[in-house]
């Protein structure tokens, strides 16, 4: 299988995986927390406008936030209960953001959804269900799915790629979803193929998840093709294999141009978890208000894959999993290569949280950085063929706006450069600073 596995040709790194901490653990459903903090911007775009007031009664799955301007995705109550406050909550990127706090009614009957036949629905009706359900790309970026699935007519999309690479170390969320719900993913892919009016779908999965590859292959055989061509493509284990541009290049050989989008080369990419959410939205009419997250790292007592309500505070998850260990040194929302370090356990889970890592001192590196010694390792590691070393030096020299000539906006901050840098230079930080100062 190794010889057949696909990958991208330039750059990439091999961080230690640490997936064995949680890969074998089945998803457990976390008991309802006492309160949830549902952020009103969990997506790419402007925050939603709250539709509920303080003391209002809300039901699980009820719409509580609506898109009123620009891009966005609806927000739903994840529990049945009473609105305690419409205020703000800690946000992993924006520090604080508008949110709705709901006090859970522990005696409420959980919502239930039954599968319905979606095949008779029109394309518009399916897209409307996806939009109503507030589906966003839950693999990371949070781009509204109903927008992504309606590319402009001039884009000639011919291929759907499902992203099951999960190249970030520690994270096993997608892995568990693929193992536990393969039929829903396959059904979801058929929904997307119908929307796009195409037949070809590739599911890209890194080789370290051979069980998921087998399960999905079997599931494809079992459910039948219905005229669709769905296949599993094993991928080489290499970070950032799951990056959209690298994944597209690995599977189709096409290169998405700078400032371009996948549909420019005829491809739409969806994360496997998002695909399952699309299935639930279309076939079950279920909004996106709960998700599987990996809680891992040596700093948590009991690493696990858990199904949580969106808005669950990390503090509640930590106490459910037995607390943190005394040598905890860093808490990261997301993967260790691209996640955000946080300082506050009141942070709630959002639609795009794929994991929370509790890292100890020996898992992270806090050494101070030195001068660039021009080893050139970052040039070899960069999957975009950029020169992180030079961009860092320009930023340090106080000339960040001049980095545009080196293609700073093509950088998607995968962190390979800073991962390999022997001088421990914070190259991603330099590049983020450069992007703020430089003009496109």
């Amino acid at each position: 299988m190794n010889s057949l596995s696909l990958t991208f040709p330039k750059g990439g790194v091999h961080p230690k995986e640490f997936k064995s901490l949680t890969a074998h653990l089945g998803t457990e459903i976390m008991p309802l927390p006492g309160e949830v903090d549902i952020l009103l911007n969990q997506h790419f775009g402007a925050p939603c406008t709250p539709l509920v007031k303080k003391k209002a009664e809300v039901r699980e799955g009820e719409l509580i936030g609506e898109v009123t301007q620009g891009l966005g995705a609806n927000i739903h109550a994840s529990v049945t209960g009473t609105v305690k406050n419409v205020g703000t909550a800690p946000h992993p990127i924006s520090v604080r953001a508008p949110s709705v706090t709901i006090q859970t009614d522990p005696d409420a009957e959980p919502a239930s959804y039954k599968p319905t036949d979606w095949t008779g629905l029109s394309r518009e009706k399916i897209l409307e269900r996806i939009r109503n359900a507030g589906i966003v790309g839950i693999g990371g970026a949070g781009f509204p799915t109903h927008v992504k699935l309606a590319p402009p007519p001039e884009a000639k999309v011919d291929t759907l790629i499902l992203n099951g690479a999960e190249c970030e170390p520690y994270l096993t969320t997608d892995h568990r979803v693929m193992l536990e719900h393969p039929e829903e993913i396959i059904e979801g892919s058929k929904i997307i193929l119908s929307i796009l009016g195409i037949t070809e779908c590739h599911i890209g999965i890194e080789n370290n998840k051979s069980d998921a590859i087998e399960v999905l292959k079997k599931s494809i055989e079992k459910t039948g093709s219905n005229g669709f061509q769905i296949q599993v493509d094993p991928l080489k284990v290499k970070y950032p294999q799951g990056s959209e541009k690298q994944l597209i290049q690995s599977i189709t050989g096409r290169k998405v141009p700078g400032f371009g989008l996948p549909f420019d080369v005829g491809v739409i990419v969806q994360n496997v978890g998002t695909t399952r959410a699309i299935y639930e939205a279309v076939a079950l009419n279920k909004p996106l208000y709960e998700k599987v997250v990996t809680i891992s790292g040596k700093g948590i007592q009991r690493p696990a894959n858990i199904m949580v309500k969106i808005g669950t505070r990390l503090r509640d998850i930590v106490s459910y999993l037995g607390g943190t260990r005394p040598d905890l040194a860093k808490v990261v929302m997301g993967g260790p290569m691209m996640g955000f370090a946080i300082s506050d356990l009141d942070m709630p889970i959002t639609k795009t949280t794929s994991g929370v890592l509790f890292l100890t001192g020996d898992e992270i590196d806090t050494n101070p950085h030195g001068h660039c010694i021009r080893c050139g390792w970052c040039l070899d590691a960069c999957p975009m063929g950029l020169s992180p070393n030079e961009m860092g030096i320009y930023v340090e020299a106080g000339r960040p706006e001049e980095t545009a000539q080196f293609g700073v906006f093509e950088c998607f901050e995968c962190g390979c450069c800073a991962f390999v840098c022997p001088a421990k230079r914070p190259l991603v930080q330099f590049i983020r600073l450069a992007k703020r100062k430089a003009k496109k």
């Binding site: 790194v13 946080i342 992270i364 010694i373 040039l379 020169s387 991962f419 022997p422 991603v428």
Partner: protein, 347 residues
Amino acid sequence: MEENGLTETGSRLWAVSVSPHVKSGESVEKIMWTVVGCLVPPLILSIFLFGFQTLLITLISVGSCVATEAISQRLLHQPVTIKDGSAVITGMLLAYIIPPGVPYWMPILGAVMSIYVAKHLLGGIGFNIFNPALIGRAFLVATFPVAMTSAWLAPIRHGSIFKYMGSGVDAVSTATPLFVLKHYGISGVIEKFGSLSSIYGSFFVGWRPGCIGETSTLLLLLGGLYLIYKGYITWHIPVSMIVSVAFLTWVFGGDKLFTGQPLLAILSGGIVLGAFFMATDYVTSPTQKTAKLLFGACIGALTVLIRLKGGYPEGVCYAILLMNPLAPAFEQWFRPKRFAPQKGGIK
């Protein structure tokens, strides 16, 4: 900037910094000390070949480089970084490229020139334009030309084991093979060292007069290959430099075209030491692979030019020094190939 900043929650302090949160585990210190380790075997051999003064000269050179680094950084109000091992490498390399019979104060002068002038006055690690150890040697050659070009020792003391390596003659010249070649031609080399086929074996192991650490192609090659295996250096500069020296020597090194002795050229000077341990210095060489190939080839060409037409029998030192300041230019000429910079990049 919040790098390495700490934040307080309850009684604990957590680090918060920009991603990535995990690193490869490599560090400047690890690279430097690995290079130091790779340079130790030639030093041990040199003690067998030329006696304990080679160890003493190396220790004096390393000690003065480290001391100069500490004093320079204090004077220039920089953090003292002697533990990173880079001054130790400079000290070893400086000792390795001076003759074993020089007076003991000479490496001290070279060290001050290398570390204070060529490294720290130019901004310290990462900013030096020239290879510091080579600047030290160039300074010594210019200032004490007699000692630096005649203080050779014959590798006979404790060296009898190498007679088994196949050298046909017992009496070994104290002049270096390259000196003999320059002044007496190939017949002189054969007369003083033995027939070509018989001397390659002992030259390869290191049994010949020369600078302290340059003689053993075998041990330098082992060290260099280990650095390539570790990924600390790439093959591009050493290979292109050695190939270029061999090819140009073969073409122009003989009485007629295409009659030179390429193997002798590689085994009898500082080519291998220079190719693996000096021309590959990160700071003073280009980072792009194609640039590295051309850079190495240019060093090889300049080496052969100096050897054949210049005033010195050996040219590696000046060839590398002449190419060092061109590294940034190579960087501009050879840009990395970007993924797909413009729209419409379907391939």
